[in-house]
Structure formats: structure tokens, C-alpha cells
Point group: C2
Chain length 212, copies 2
């Protein structure tokens, strides 16, 4: 009976994401998104009640590109988790400005819930259950969230390589030396290295020896 909506939430989110990619987080205003859609500012409020809701749509759009199906062809559960984690990183990397939004709206994303479901399945196959599985998932998520943010908001490798350069070397001997190494490490290598640490730690502490 009513007139059909002429804009899908997806189109809305795409427009907002386009603005976000072009002008960054500070440029993501209701007016800018409205202009992008060639409509008046207030027209947006026909589709969202809030700026927050718009943000959530953008986050969902980004996470929506994450394939939630379990990877196949990987015997080792660690490899499968690695693939799942990489899928999220790749999705977010494609739109760096979305990073701060993902943290705030993480829990509203169905796509990320699907992702969690699959990861939980893999963890289950790995022999984890109950409380241990909760903590494993949470630990993985914590690392993922933290690592992505450090990568995009944290100047350079290490805690701000630039700042470290102008530091009294006698007070910060390790930091100075570490910065030298940090400069040569690619972000991807750093990310994977950290992920390896977490994955190693996830192995059953009762039977730390790998089947390989």
C-alpha cells in the first residue's frame, strides 16, 4: 500500500563509505553524505534516526565483505583461524578511516557475529570448550582489534618511531635499539607475527606439543 523506499540501506551505507574514503572520518557528516546522494540533509533522516545508525550501517557494509564460511583445505586449525583473521584485516584495510567506527559499532554487526560463529566452530574442533573457548575467542578479538588500531592510528612501528628518535638514548636504551629494527618490519609481518604469538598461546597448555 505505501510507496516503496527508493533507497536501500546498502546504498545509504555505500554513499557514506564513499565519503569516508574520500574525506576521512572528520569529513563524514550528515550534510556530506546527503550531498553525495544528491538529496537534502534532512532527507537522510528518512532512512536513519541517527548519525550513529548511519555509522553502524557503514561498519556493517565493511564487515559484510568478510567471507564468514569456514575455510576448507586447511588441515591445521591454526591455519584456518589465520585465514579468518586475515579476512577481517583485509576488509578493514580497504577502508582505513572506518577503523575508529568499527570499535564503537562492533557489537551491532551481524556479519561479525557470523564470523565469530565460524571461529568458534574452528576453536571447538581444536578441542576448546566452555570457558576456555570464550576466552580464546575474546583473546583473538582483542588482538585483532588492538593490532588493527595500532597499525592505522599508531604512527609507525613500535609506539611512534618518530617520537622515539628525539628521546634521550641513555634513558631509553632498549626503545632506541628496538626502533631501529621496527623500521625495517612491514606492517603485515608485524601483524602476522603477533597473530602467531596468540595462536601459539591458544594451543592446549596441557598438551603443548603440536601434532606436526
Amino acid at each position: 500500500m505505501p510507496r516503496p523506499r527508493s533507497l536501500t540501506p546498502d546504498q545509504l551505507a555505500s554513499a557514506a563509505l564513499a565519503v569516508l574514503d574520500r574525506d576521512g572520518l572528520a569529513g563524514l557528516t550528515m550534510r556530506a553524505v546527503a550531498t553525495q546522494l544528491r538529496m537534502s540533509t534532512m532527507g537522510l533522516y528518512r532512512y536513519v534516526t541517527d548519525r550513529a545508525e548511519l555509522e553502524a550501517l557503514v561498519v556493517e557494509l565493511v564487515f559484510g565483505t568478510v567471507d564468514p564460511t569456514p575455510p576448507t583445505g586447511q588441515a591445521d586449525w591454526r591455519d584456518r583461524i589465520r585465514i579468518m583473521v586475515h579476512r577481517v584485516r583485509r576488509a578493514v584495510d580497504a577502508h582505513p578511516a572506518v577503523v575508529p567506527l568499527t570499535v564503537a559499532h562492533r557489537h551491532t554487526s551481524v556479519s561479525l557475529l557470523r564470523w565469530s560463529e565460524t571461529v568458534l566452530g574452528i576453536l571447538t574442533e581444536a578441542g576448546l570448550d566452555g570457558g576456555r573457548r570464550v576466552i580464546a575467542l575474546r583473546g583473538l578479538l582483542s588482538y585483532l582489534v588492538g593490532a588493527i588500531q595500532l597499525e592505522h592510528l599508531g604512527a609507525l612501528a613500535g609506539p611512534g618511531t618518530g617520537v622515539i628518535a628525539g628521546l634521550p638514548p641513555d634513558e631509553f636504551p632498549h626503545l632506541g635499539e628496538t626502533a631501529q629494527y621496527a623500521r625495517r618490519i612491514e606492517p603485515a609481518e608485524e601483524f602476522d607475527g603477533g597473530l602467531d604469538i596468540v595462536l601459539r598461546g591458544l594451543a592446549d597448555p596441557v598438551a603443548p606439543a603440536d601434532p606436526e
Copy 2:
């Protein structure tokens, strides 16, 4: 020759932190901080050039309460790192609203650099060096940053226990079951459990067996 400043950066930061604790992040405005200090809004700009600079002062104030000296009396390096990590968590926990700010201004905090220096020292004693040490520090920081945020911004345990309740159980079997467990786990237990994962993973992969 000039008139001395009548307000130290520390007093400024304390006032801002008081506002932050009382009114939350949204309440932290230049006007609110000025009122807290019983001065005009623009008077603040005698001390900071920016709102961002004010935020950085607050973050530094919070991190300044973290004891950067290496813990003594702990034979195992893992226990010493645990203590260092807990110090940061405690400091941030005392002012939850500061969490979003810590991420943005993390790299400007000298206190956090001191903390990193100490942690690097411990990692060195643990036998890590070069690139492995960089990645270890970065991995620890990633987990720390992520875990603290999940704890404070992530509704409940697991990725939003509330949302999960209204989810089709046949599509999310693991998530539903996991949520049951998650509800019973204390945040501290979750945090420590995740930290244990990282610490286990930090152990030399060439010699995974613990001395114990």
C-alpha cells in the same frame, strides 16, 4: 622577566579528568573544563593550543600513575610482564571514559614510553631480541589495547551478549552456547585468560617447554 604561569599542565589535566570522570567523554568540552577551573572558556587556550592537546594531557595524567619501574621479586619473566600489564589496566580502569582517548594519544605519552622501555627490558631478559622483540612488544600492546577496549566499549562478555540472545539459535549454535559461559566469566578473569594466551605464545617457539 615574564609573569609566571599560574596553572600547571597538571592542574589543567586534573580538571579535565574530573570533568571526564563526572560527565563522560561527551561532557568533556572546552567550556566544561573552563568552568571546572572557574575561568572563561578562552582562558584555556593560554595553556593549550587545541582540544587535542588537552586530551593528550589527560591521557598523560592517567598513564602517569603507572609505575614504570621493573617489578622485583618475580623470578619468572612472565610474571613480571603480567605485573606491568596489570598496572596499565588498573590505571585505565580507574577512569573508564578515558579509554577512547588513550588510543588516539597513545604515542604521545612519555609515561607509556617508559613503560615500553621496561617491558622491552624484561623481554630482553627473556631471551628475545631484534625483530622478535619488536613483534613481542607490539603483540602485547595490541592485546592490551584491544582487551581494554572490548572490556569498556563491548557491552558484555563475548561480542555483545545482549544482541546474541535475540539471534536465531540454529544459525548461531556455538555463539548461543558460548554466551552462556561468557555470562559467568568475570572481566578480570577474561582479561587474565587472554593475557595468559599471549604470554604462552611469547615463549621461545624453538624451545616451547617451560623450565617449570
